[in-house]
Symmetry: C2
Subunit: 343 residues, 2 copies
């Protein structure tokens, strides 16, 4: 098989994966889980995940706080698995996110949480997985078999499942959520990422940045570039970038900035100005041109909470194209397996 | 003044800063704050911070979960400041950590939390700062004036103040906490970091890693190298490193691994073996030699929860030495100010 063919096929399937999750049966199953959560009224939501799924979990935490007004955060599994602590989660919902559902540390976190009285939920692409078995409730993101080791369609399926879940707790999703499959198709139809890949052929490192809903996208884009192209990529929230790492920025460090239409994107303007002062090479991912930047990867304009489902699509294509330009096979990155077992 | 003289003086002062915080009056003030917290019995602790202080906050979150069994996490200020959300924190303790106490976003998070009924605490090096004024309770870390822009003594003072606070909520610190000033002096007396600096003179990037209590140290070491030497440094928890970024490791990417004596350090053995398979160049920071690694920066052997206060000391010296070797002045990094105002 051609190098990267698996990853290319996974990426291309995403509009279809969105449509499947938004269709009747999958949506009803998520609504039923949301009802159980709404009845329980958790005072606090804890997400636990690793790698790509950790970025989906981060999106889930932003959604939970902003849409539901319930404090949310990400748990460090080592607290439970390495140090043997048993934080009291009796009024919490604990959500494990994992494409394989096979990571022993996440299972241990959910089991420990359940013992202290938490309501637990597994969000996985593998119904009947150990994580789903360990949890009170389970959501199947139904992305189908992923060909490449680097996760793409399972990531966006996790995002959409979490979006549907949170919006269902809060009275049900808005009608425009059904536009997402078509918008994803549009985002994937633009070939700007392929033209830009040559710029990063010889880059020694790269910085990604975004704020709020766009921060998980910045983190996931950095991970995708690292695991497929071995390009060291540093992800920072826009605000954190100003607290230290900005010193590193100069015309030789390329920056990918995720700038959506909305308050999160607006709050990046100051960050972009500071990067401009340092003469950084900034490429923007977003629906609007930003003066003073080198180029833009266009994505459709949507409500900011939907943007993470679209912004990552051209960035997955960019990672694939950079990997191929560097002579790598992103379907089978060196040193990695599809299921990573950590304790 | 000689380049780096300010940072060198700040670093050298840390044993004295520890001794001052551990002496009667500062300790009693922290114990009084701890008593107020213990009486309130928060169900959940939220930390909020930026930059270096964010790493101190991460340490505080590990301590809170492991020592007190209270769920803890880090808040994204943008949820409040950019998206206008008001998560219900009525049963929570919300802790802002900031050396200057002047960051408007942290003040906004504490004010919003207070409005929903949270107990709020400011941990700063600036009594009377806006953050201290916005909070119900305040702890002064009493590190004195910091000369360099890159934070060193204010970081470890924040760590020690959080340690004293958490242990005071749980019946008071163990007697061996008073050994820390002497141990810090010993950690600073060893010149291995200066000898190792030459290895990183021409490095294009660097990876730092650690698990549990050692993870904040890995993050802070990476930030210190970035802001003083402009050396792109990627920090990963040991477990996350195996989920993707491991593909990036090869003999040309130097790795600094923080490996303490205790369960966190033990859980790094598997990570080090995987790095060995990829023939990565690993330098260990810790009290014990690790077979198959290139070198070790020695630190005194202590209980793992104390290790973050010592492990960072030689890493601060390494960052200073690498910056000087590269012809930079770490006292005044390009593009940075001492107080960073983000909204």
């Amino acid at each position: 098989m051609t190098a990267g063919a698996g990853m290319a096929a996974d990426i291309a399937e995403q509009p279809e994966v969105f449509a499947r999750l938004l269709a009747g049966p999958a949506r009803e199953r998520i609504a039923a889980v949301a009802e159980r959560i709404a009845r329980r009224r958790p005072r606090h939501v804890v997400f636990t995940a690793r790698g790509t799924s950790d970025h989906a979990a981060l999106y889930g935490a932003y959604l939970t706080e902003i849409r539901l007004g319930i404090p949310a955060g990400l748990a460090s599994p080592s607290v439970v698995t390495v140090f043997g602590a048993r934080p009291d989660l009796s009024e919490s919902l604990v959500v494990g996110v994992s494409q394989s559902g096979g990571s022993p540390d996440l299972c241990a976190v959910l089991e420990a949480a359940r013992e202290t009285g938490a309501l637990t939920l597994a969000v996985t692409n593998t119904p009947g997985s150990p994580l789903a078995a360990a949890a009170d409730l389970a959501v199947d993101v139904a992305a189908g078999h992923e060909r490449a080791v680097a996760a793409t369609k399972t990531y966006t399926a996790e995002l959409l499942a979490l979006l549907l879940l949170v919006e269902s707790v809060d009275g049900g999703p808005a009608a425009d959520i059904d536009d997402l499959p078509g918008l994803a198709e549009r985002a994937l139809a633009d070939d700007t990422p392929l033209h830009l890949a040559a710029r990063y052929r010889f880059a020694a490192r790269l910085v990604t940045t975004g704020r709020g809903y766009a921060y998980p996208t910045a983190r996931e884009a950095a991970l995708k570039l690292m695991e497929t192209s071995y390009l060291p990529s540093l992800a920072f929230s826009g605000a954190d970038l100003l607290h230290g790492p900005l010193a590193m920025a100069d015309p030789d460090v390329p920056v990918l900035a995720v700038v959506d239409a909305g308050p999160g994107g607006q709050s990046m303007r100051d960050v972009l100005a500071r990067l401009g002062e340092r003469r950084a090479d900034v490429v923007v991912v977003g629906p609007e041109d930003v003066p003073g930047t080198a180029a833009r990867i266009p994505v459709p304009r949507v409500d900011e909470r939907y943007a993470p489902l679209l912004d990552i699509l051209p960035l997955q294509r960019l990672a694939l194209a950079v990997a191929l330009a560097r002579g790598q096979d992103p379907d089978a990155p060196r040193g990695l397996n599809k299921v990573t077992a950590t304790l």
